[in-house]
């Protein structure tokens, strides 16, 4: 059982989504089956960014792993709510990193 934490910074949009995708693919290929994405340093997420997060979650689920998200800022939480991502069961959303890690373990 391996755990990996990703902390995207600044903006996650069409310009940065590809780099983030490469990062989580590397994490998945390294054998990690629990992925935490910490949004505390992310100020903005676009539709392209949301798609990459969903892709990461689908990838982990196909491997039998789990994904948790934490520390969503107000703008990011609102976009999650509007898109319906906050109601998905494919990942869990937590306000703090500790509670997210506890949920993964």
């Amino acid at each position: 059982m391996a755990e990996k934490i990703l902390t995207p910074k600044g903006r996650l949009d069409s310009a940065t989504a590809a780099a983030f995708e490469t990062e989580f693919m590397a994490a998945a290929d390294s054998g990690a089956d629990r992925l935490l994405i910490d949004f505390s340093e992310l100020s903005y997420i676009s539709s392209a960014g949301l798609r990459v997060v969903l892709k990461a979650a689908k990838r982990m689920q196909s491997k039998g792993g789990r994904v948790a998200l934490c520390s969503l800022g107000p703008q990011i939480a609102e976009v999650f709510e509007i898109s319906g991502f906050s109601s998905l069961s494919i990942f869990s959303i937590h306000s703090e990193r500790d509670s997210a890690l506890a949920a993964l373990r």
Binding site: S14, I45, S46, S47, A48, L50, R51, L54, K58, Q75, E78, V79, F80, E81, I82, S83, G84, F85, S87, L88, S89, I90
Partner: protein
């Protein structure tokens, strides 16, 4: 004598009004009457090079307007029914077709017009609840009869006017009529150049070279101008039609419309320049050229004018035959293709596939996945497919609506074929999905507009931005599910499109609280935007349900 001539002038005037109002309406009726069947017929005829001239000539004869023909051909090119070379060829032949009315006008058709008017008018009166196609056909016939009657009245009026050499200025009205006559003769008949300019301006203003030619033929018959001046006005009318097409083409954005207009303008102007040179040489040097050939065919002056008009309209064909390669190069520079036009063409469905329902449904499913693929590009900052990357969201949405419309018509045609039960189920499912996709594109167009209108209000703009990103992500998931039809993706889409009533209430309270109650425009923008968002989510759920209940992948 005075009363008789005034009566003739009024008859001519009434006929002119009837003629001009009918000539505009007859094209519209022809288009309405034709619809999909006209497009299918044109597509079939243009795929056979030998039938393309016939299709073009018929189109020109029915529509009687170069701009009307161009509009139809642009629609056919954009819809992918015909290709650009076919459209250019049809446009040249449509010019010949538009001469038909001028030739008809050189003979008196008042009695025929009255007979058709009687039949069509009485039939329309008693057939008020008849089927729409039959009523459209009768209304087209009714308009045609008014047009013929208008031409007939102009003939009658001009015969009355030409009965006397001059109008006797014994009354004020007759004096004014006499002044008008002298003015026209002075303007149009003073020199070849003035006649040419007069004809060009008249054709540009009325947007009908054939209408101008017919009016001038009537004026000539009434003795309002000499034959030489009438010749120049008729020639000028065709030149004006070419100039008008070129100017419209050059101010139009890139694309098929610009290409067809510029082509029409260039070939007509070059053709008319050559023809005018020959006409002026013939006059100056007393040579036996075009005028002599026409006089050999008919000795009636009005028919000579009609044949001259036909020659003018045929000149672009000759120009294209000789200079086609150079014109094509000029078009590449002056009217390059617009981005997105090929995107609007159906890539899978085609009319002949209807005869094989299994193939037709497969193709309709593929075409429909293209419509779903366009969804993310229909929102500001969305992620369109690579071939739509440079196209504005509103245009992407319009293409989506157009394609869904094409698929809808195609599916309706498939419904007319004998189908198995499985095929009927699949057809119904594809039809429902298609309706949802079309509604989604229409709703997204409204949402995009509202998002842009909300920009001036700070809190509303922040919500607009979040909505654009959130809905954009949802649309990408719609695309994923549409392409794969994987049950996992479809289930995910169903979860994502769950009811958002509470979310919308929360958004409204938050934004309206932040903006304050003093700004009704901002409040209205927020209400419209959030209502459209709710509708979008509801449509996505309907689409997901259709995907879940669909038979094996179409």
């Amino acid at each position: 004598m005075i009363h008789s001539q005034l009566h003739s002038l009024i008859v001519f005037f009434g006929g002119l009004g009837l003629f001009l109002s009918s000539i505009n309406r007859i094209g519209a009726h022809s288009i309405q009457l034709g619809g999909r069947r006209l497009r299918q017929t044109l597509a079939r005829h243009t795929s056979n090079p030998a039938l393309s001239p016939l299709a073009g000539t018929t189109l020109g004869a029915l529509v009687q307007s170069a701009s009307g023909v161009t509009a139809i051909l642009v629609g056919l090119v954009v819809a992918g029914v015909i290709n650009i070379p076919s459209a250019l060829s049809m446009m040249l032949w449509a010019n010949i077709g538009s001469s038909a009315l001028v030739l008809v006008a050189s003979i008196d058709l008042q009695v025929l017009g009255l007979a058709i008017l009687g039949i069509a008018g009485i039939w329309l009166y008693f057939d008020q609840s008849g089927p729409e196609p039959r009523r459209a056909a009768l209304e087209a016939l009714f308009t045609l009869s008014l047009l013929l009657l208008g031409i007939g009245l102009m003939h009658t009026g001009t015969e009355g006017l030409s009965g006397g050499d001059t109008l006797e200025p014994a009354s004020a009205a007759a004096g004014i009529a006499s002044e008008i006559k002298l003015w026209i003769v002075h303007i149009a008949g003073a020199s070849a150049l003035l006649g040419l300019i007069f004809g060009a301006i008249a054709a540009i203003v009325t947007q009908s070279a054939s209408g101008t030619a017919i009016t001038i033929m009537a004026a000539f018959q009434a003795g309002l101008m000499p034959f030489g001046a009438a010749e120049m006005v008729v020639t000028g009318a065709v030149l004006g039609s070419g100039l008008s097409a070129l100017v419209v083409g050059l101010v139009t954005r890139r694309g098929s419309q610009r290409m067809l207009q510029v082509f029409q303008g260039l070939t007509k102007i070059i053709g008319m320049a050559l023809l005018l040179a020959l006409l002026l040489l013939e006059r100056a040097l007393d040579l036996r050229l075009i005028g002599t050939a026409i006089a050999w065919l008919t000795t009636t002056p009005n028919r000579q004018l009609a044949l001259l008009y036909l020659t003018c309209e045929a000149s672009p064909l000759l120009v294209h035959a000789v200079t086609g390669r150079w014109v094509a190069r000029a078009l590449e520079v002056l009217a390059p293709p617009a981005p997105g036009e090929s995107l609007a063409h159906p890539r899978f469905i085609y009319p002949e596939a209807v005869s094989d329902p299994e193939l037709a449904l497969l193709l309709a499913g593929r075409e429909q996945r293209r419509v779903a693929q366009l969804l993310p590009g229909a929102l500001p900052n969305g992620t369109p497919p690579p071939d739509a990357a440079d196209i504005p969201p509103a245009q992407v949405g319009a293409i989506g609506v157009r394609l869904a419309g094409e698929i809808g018509l195609f599916l309706a045609s498939v419904a007319g074929s004998p189908l198995t039960r499985e095929q009927t189920d699949l057809l119904a499912n594809l039809h429902n999905r298609n309706e949802v996709l079309r509604n989604l594109h229409e709703t997204l167009a409204d949402l995009t507009r509202t998002i842009q209108e909300a920009r001036p209000y700070a809190a509303a703009a922040a919500l607009a931005n979040a909505l654009a990103e959130g809905v954009g992500a949802l649309l990408m998931c719609v695309d994923d599910a549409a392409q794969s039809e994987d049950p996992f993706d479809v289930d995910l889409l169903l979860q994502l499109s769950s009811d958002r009533g509470d979310v919308v209430d929360g958004m409204r309270r938050r934004v309206i609280g932040a903006e304050g109650r003093s700004d009704p425009d901002s409040q209205q923008a927020v209400y419209i935007m959030t209502s459209l968002f709710e509708r979008t989510v509801w449509l996505i759920q309907r689409y997901a349900n259709q995907l879940r209940s669909s038979p094996p992948k179409a």
